[in-house]
């Protein structure tokens, strides 16, 4: 049972990591004309939280949602087609990287304006409570969203109405290039949120299993008390805010800062765990190869796929 879970974690972590590596390889061709905000370094949060939230959950995210999408949908055909702006993409090329989503897979909306999906996630939770369908909503956002009034408005309303929603703050310390300490006039966020009528948890870990357990624990409490939950996870963004490169030469942060995080890299950690629990190196390699092949097939298909018909620029404005 545990082994199955660990394999599932790794499959998703590796999928996200590998997809983004291929994006890094290919971005220079200038065929994926969409601003890339990479998940690299933070993969374990999306994977761990969503595993605990279950298949039936609904997620909302930000412009940095490659990991969310891939963990939820576990497919790469429509994903890459969307990156290439093709008719076969998740939104027929109308959304791109910053709006990657899949209603079917339960990633309802992602957005390029900070904090904007938070109240929408609360509304989705309101509807689920209204219909008593037992669905959980997970709202993902970065530390920058904490600077927005709408975060506090949404948290307040969710707590007031006891909605089935889990707020997950993926904290990489930077709103683009400004650190939390340069932007914040309050005590640590989990402490502040703990004064609301909800459950809170926090962790500085890159271990997907720990994130999973932490999430399972809070969801358990939420089900009993019928109160929302709030989780705060720190991570380190390996690459620049937007784009596929490192940016240590810019001077606002040092490579040294990253090194301790690299040692506990989430993908590496989970790979080591698989070996530790007795998987053979070749089994892991075979799994990786299958994922690599899937990704290559998707890239080829996406490149070959047609662009949307020109008339599409005016469709989907109204239902």
């Amino acid at each position: 049972m545990q082994k199955k879970l660990f394999l599932s974690f790794y499959r998703k972590l590796y999928l996200v990591r590998r997809v983004e590596e291929r994006i890094r390889d290919l971005y220079g061709e200038d065929e994926m004309k969409t601003p890339m905000h990479m998940s690299r370094g933070g993969e374990a949060i999306a994977v761990g939280v969503l595993e605990a939230a279950g298949k039936n959950s609904q997620a909302f995210g930000t412009y940095r949602s490659h990991a969310l999408y891939l963990a939820k949908a576990q497919e790469t055909d429509e994903f890459f087609a969307e990156m290439y702006g093709k008719a076969t993409g998740t939104a027929k090329g109308k959304g791109g990287s910053m709006h990657i989503a899949s209603l079917e897979a339960g990633l309802i909306m992602t957005s390029a304006v900070v904090g904007t999906t938070i109240p929408v996630a609360v509304g989705a939770a309101l509807a689920n409570a209204y219909k008593k369908n037992g669905k959980l909503v997970v709202s993902f956002f970065g530390d920058g969203a904490l600077d927005e009034g709408v975060f506090w408005e949404s948290l307040n309303f969710a707590c007031l109405k006891k909605l089935p929603i889990l707020f997950v703050c993926e904290d990489n310390d930077f709103a683009i290039h400004s650190r939390v300490k340069e932007r914040t006039g309050h005590k640590p966020i989990a402490d502040v949120v703990s004064t609301f009528y909800c459950h809170t948890g926090e962790s500085v870990t890159t271990d997907v299993h720990e994130i999973y357990e932490k999430t399972k624990d809070i969801i358990g409490k939420m089900r009993v008390s019928e109160m929302p939950g709030f989780l705060h996870f720190k991570y380190y963004r390996y690459l620049e805010h937007v784009g596929v490169n490192e940016d240590f030469e810019a001077g606002y942060r040092s490579r040294k800062e990253m090194l301790s995080w690299l040692e506990r890299d989430p993908v590496k950690l989970q790979r080591e765990r698989l070996i530790k629990i007795g998987l053979e190196e070749k089994e892991v390699t075979a799994m990786e190869r299958r994922i690599n092949e899937q990704i290559e097939r998707s890239i080829t298909k996406a490149k070959q796929a047609p662009f949307p018909a020109k008339s599409e620029f005016k469709t989907d404005v109204y239902a």
Partner: protein, 354 residues
């Protein structure tokens, strides 16, 4: 063939028509719910949410102010299959929700390649009079209609508000529904049963042959007054067209009237500059350039803010007299003697202290 059964009608106000529609729509569809600051209090948004107390709390509830979050909540609920009706006591407060409206609600469907739909209604009341001034008087239809993805409705009669609100609630698109406070007092003959009026259908509210006045919201009341006086005193036959929905815009009906009378005034209840009146004037000019007997005239708010003090407020709002003078100019008439004519004054309805 059986004879059509006579429709049972009643004389009710605009406000009562709104409340009745909300009740009927909530009875019809369990996914419809009504929410917003103070919708449930003793005043019930000028009576327009009266009678909804019979529904359980989840279908009729007050909220924190939080205009932005509450708009996002409406979107999220709509994406998950509900039909929210969000109520604001003033249009001005909607500006706090503009981020959600313009960045999230309007492009929700487009940005998902058609996967999502957002059937929500945002009702907001346009204030005027007794010191409403620059933060309680905006209508902003041009601002909302400028954004693709939104529909904008401005009913001007009790009959229309009922049919259009029902359509707005049943629409699979987000609708901004703008109600003028003074129209709340207007009475009309309204069928008791539920009915819909399609969005995007203008109405020729008064037939005429000499000049067309395209009027939005409260300007319909002013246009009627002007038309009555001119008919009596100058024998002028004014046609009044109420677009009713700003977007979708019923160009066909407007153009047909312009072609018929060949004199057009657009009387829009909003600022003139970059306003809906400019849009309508441009479209008429494009379609009827060679046949118009005079350039399209616009009557709308000047490029200034609305003041609290009555004399300055009077200057700000165009009225029936402005419409009369504009028609005289167009048709080259002598000035109409307005002695003894009574014009609308809110003091007849409302006196302070507030």
């Amino acid at each position: 063939m059986p004879k059509a059964v006579a429709q049972k009608t009643e004389h009710i106000t605009y406000e009562q028509a709104i409340a009745q529609t909300l009740r009927q729509e909530m009875d019809r569809d369990p996914n419809v719910f009504v929410y917003g600051l103070d919708v449930t209090d003793h005043k019930k948004i000028f009576g327009s949410t009266k009678g909804l107390e019979k529904f359980p709390e989840k279908r009729f509830f007050g909220t924190p102010l939080s205009e932005e979050a509450m708009t996002g909540v409406g979107l999220g609920a709509a994406l998950n299959g509900l039909r929210p009706v969000h109520v604001h006591i003033r249009v001005d407060f909607l500006l706090l929700a503009m981020n959600q409206l313009a960045n999230m609600v309007a492009p929700a469907r487009f940005g998902s390649g058609g996967a999502l739909k957002a059937p929500l209604v945002i009702r907001a009341v346009i204030g005027r009079g007794w010191g409403q001034a620059f933060q309680h008087s905006k209508s902003l239809q041009s601002v909302f209609a400028h954004i693709p993805g939104l529909q904008v409705v401005m009913p001007s009669s009790a009959y229309d508000v009922k049919g259009l609100l029902a359509s707005a609630i049943r629409s699979d698109n987000p609708v901004v529904f703008l109600e003028h406070r003074w129209l709340y007092w207007m009475e009309g003959k309204v069928p008791v049963r539920s009915y819909t009026i399609p969005l995007g259908k203008a109405k020729v509210v008064r037939k005429g042959k000499d000049v067309t006045v395209i009027a939005t919201s409260w300007m319909n009341v002013e246009a009627h007054k002007a038309a009555d006086i001119l008919a009596r005193k100058q024998g002028v036959d004014v046609e009044i067209v109420d677009p009713r929905t700003i977007y979708p815009f019923d160009e066909e009906t407007v153009i047909a009237s312009a072609r018929k009378t060949r004199h057009v005034i657009v009387a829009d209840y909003d600022w003139e500059f970059c306003g809906f009146s400019a849009e309508v004037a441009a479209r008429i000019s494009e379609k009827c350039f060679g046949i118009l007997k005079s350039p399209v005239t616009r009557i709308a708010f000047p490029h200034t803010q609305c003041a609290t003090t009555r004399p300055l407020e009077n200057e700000f709002y165009p009225n029936a007299v402005d419409i009369i003078r504009a028609i005289e100019k167009k048709l080259k008439l002598k000035p109409t003697n307005l002695k003894g004519e009574e014009f609308y004054s809110w003091e007849n309805r409302f006196r302070g202290p507030f």
